[in-house]
């Protein structure tokens, strides 16, 4: 007890004294050094992040077709146009449904994989690698496998081949929006690509749960299995779960690659980014409307992120570190 306190004091004192050591250069030298280190990054951040956002905000109030230096101020017309544009609002609904489905499922699957790999003794490294390997594959390559080989909608696709063994007719997975089988295709692509990544996060967190908690729970009469999972493991994983859900949400809102590639020539299942891509860079090159859409989407993402942070108590820890 006493050693800890003296240690703490000594550390505190040392921390106060540290600025005295490199006093040779003084405050001005340190300021110069600060800018030397952070300058390149901050300039880049200003040019390639802040200016585009600002410019986009500016463009969103102008009539800007085929031009990025517009002169016709139109107020909120672009916003009104995008919000009454059924394609865009449908896309917003699409991605909300998409996020609401894909986030909990990915969370559950990655947690489940982590729990399995964590408990396994034999060939643990092998199983971990197998689940983690898809993380290295791009959305484009995965979409290609899914579209061309698994869910190709023709007789020789893997899914239809397997179904034919059970005497079920071919299903046009992507080419027909009714029934909407394409959601299954999109969902499984994302699960395959992402579950391993989040499994690693859960595994790291599982290893940090002190063994004593399980012993204490066993003494208190908790049965191994569901009860320990419910009352020990899950509460201990709360922080990680929150972070994982946040990362998943942000990733879901930015979905583009697999939608663009899987549903290239279709009009259904378009998420907002694909819609923006066609608005701004399609035939019309309507930068004004495209920018307005980007603003709406950014705002929406910020709101949902903050809301999720409020609900799950995230963000408080960020400053304390």
């Amino acid at each position: 007890m006493s050693t800890t306190t003296t240690h703490g004091v000594a550390k505190g004192r040392a921390a106060e004294e540290t600025p005295a050591v490199p006093r040779r250069r003084g405050v001005r030298g340190r300021t110069l050094n600060f800018w030397l280190f952070t300058g390149p990054f901050l300039i880049g951040l200003a040019v390639f992040v802040y200016i585009p956002i600002g410019w986009s905000a500016y463009l969103s109030f102008f009539e800007a077709r085929y031009t990025v230096t517009p002169s016709t101020f139109v107020g909120f017309d672009n916003y009104a146009y995008m919000l009454t544009n059924e394609k865009f609002t449908d896309a917003l609904v699409t991605f909300t449904v998409f996020a609401a489905i894909v986030v909990p499922i990915t969370w559950a699957l990655s947690l489940g994989l982590a729990l399995m790999v964590h408990r396994i003794r034999f060939m643990k490294a092998f199983f971990r690698s197998v689940f983690f390997l898809p993380t290295a594959v791009s959305f484009v390559a995965a979409s290609l496998i899914w579209k061309m080989s698994i869910f190709s909608g023709v007789r020789f696709g893997l899914a239809n081949t397997v179904l034919s063994w059970f005497g079920i007719d071919n299903i046009a997975w992507l080419a027909n929006p009714d029934p909407p089988w394409y959601w299954l295709v999109i969902l499984t692509v994302r699960l395959w690509l992402q579950a391993g990544f989040y499994m690693i996060l859960f595994l790291a967190a599982l290893q940090n749960i002190p063994q004593e908690l399980y012993e204490a729970a066993a003494i208190d009469g908790a049965k191994p299995g569901w009860q320990t999972l419910r009352y020990v493991t899950l509460p201990q994983l709360r922080a990680t779960s929150t972070a994982v859900i946040l990362l998943l949400l942000v990733a879901a809102y930015q979905a583009f690659d697999e939608f663009f590639n899987l549903l290239a020539k279709t009009t259904w299942g378009r998420p907002p980014l694909v819609e923006l891509y066609y608005t701004a860079l399609g035939e019309n090159q309507d930068y004004g409307a495209g920018s307005a859409g980007a603003m709406i989407l950014t705002l929406l993402i910020c709101v949902v992120t903050l809301l999720q942070g409020k609900i799950m108590g995230f963000g408080r820890g960020e400053e304390s570190k």
Partner: protein, 297 residues
């Protein structure tokens, strides 16, 4: 230590219980291995499909009955891929390699310096500047692609390496990760270096970086993978075929009029191979990198 009646009775009851628990755990661990095995099998199916299709002929891929393995392994598909004039696949591989490497080196350089400055060099406005960085984490990069494209095209960087690489270097998130890491870096090491007369710059390169190689390797692996796999930005910027990256080329196969399954899957296999190698040899750092990327806040 001779057995008396009461102890026997006492131990008597736990023994069957223990046996029961053990039998249960044998059953549940068999179930565990079964479930894990099934999941692993499903996760490997797409890889199997890539290899099978890449080494088959189109006739076998589209044949009446499912072929689990090609009858004749078609290694010739590999050279055919690079002889195919419709998609400049070799060029796109080269582009991706250049973009992947420069993107990684640049991001690490710029973001680590900034992260170190924010974490370790006392400056009265450092906190405010850190907020300026943090705010960008709220705005997903993918959403700003329209304005970024506008900017890059007005700089005349469309279809160039500059346009592909430079706008992506300034990642607020990577800078944030480096700052968090350097906050935990042992101060004593740098102080010793500075007492020895090294400047911040000298201490950074001679003491801090050499002692942080694990962290750098972890972030480098993740950055390279995300650079190699990036699609939206290269699609927007790569307007000429000459500036396509592998991902854009792969995507173009899917919308081509003529579909050559064996070529498409050979292309996919080739595009994934470098990453699988990275994955196999650098998995340790990759796992670390993922764990660190997730421990945000």
């Amino acid at each position: 230590m001779t057995t008396t009646a009461p102890p026997i009775k006492d131990t008597g009851s736990p023994i069957p219980k223990a046996r029961k628990v053990r039998r249960g755990s044998v059953v549940s661990s068999a179930g565990l291995y079964f479930a894990t095995g099934i999941a692993a099998f499903l996760f490997l199916v797409p890889f199997y499909l890539i290899v099978r299709n890449a080494l088959s002929t189109d006739a076998e891929i589209t044949g009446e009955n499912w072929k689990f393995f090609p009858t004749d392994i078609q290694w010739g598909n590999f050279s055919e891929l690079f002889d195919d004039p419709t998609v400049p696949y070799a060029t796109s591989l080269w582009n991706s390699a250049v973009v992947g490497v420069l993107h990684t080196v640049g991001t690490l350089l710029v973001c680590s310096l900034a992260g170190y400055g924010l974490a370790r060099i006392p400056y009265k406005h450092a906190n405010k500047i850190f907020y300026v960085v943090l705010v960008t984490l709220m705005v997903p990069a993918a959403v700003t692609f329209v304005p970024s494209f506008v900017l890059v095209s007005s700089l005349g960087w469309v279809s160039s390496f500059r346009g592909l690489i430079i706008p992506g270097l300034f990642s607020g998130f990577t800078c944030f990760l480096f700052r968090q890491y350097f906050l935990g870096f042992p101060k004593e090491l740098e102080e010793a270096a500075r007492v020895d007369g090294l400047s911040y710059w000298g201490a950074y390169w001679r003491v801090v970086v050499p002692n942080s190689l694990n962290f750098f390797a972890a972030i480098a692996t993740i950055t390279f993978i995300s650079g190699w796999n990036a699609f939206l930005w290269p699609l927007v910027i790569g307007q000429d075929q000459e500036a396509w990256t592998v991902q854009v080329a792969l995507s173009s196969y899917m919308t081509n009029q003529t579909v050559n399954f064996h070529l498409i899957f050979m292309a996919t296999a080739v595009s994934i191979l470098p990453l699988v190698l990275v994955f196999l040899f650098l998995q340790r750092w990759l796992v670390q990198g993922v764990a660190q990327t997730g421990i945000k806040g």
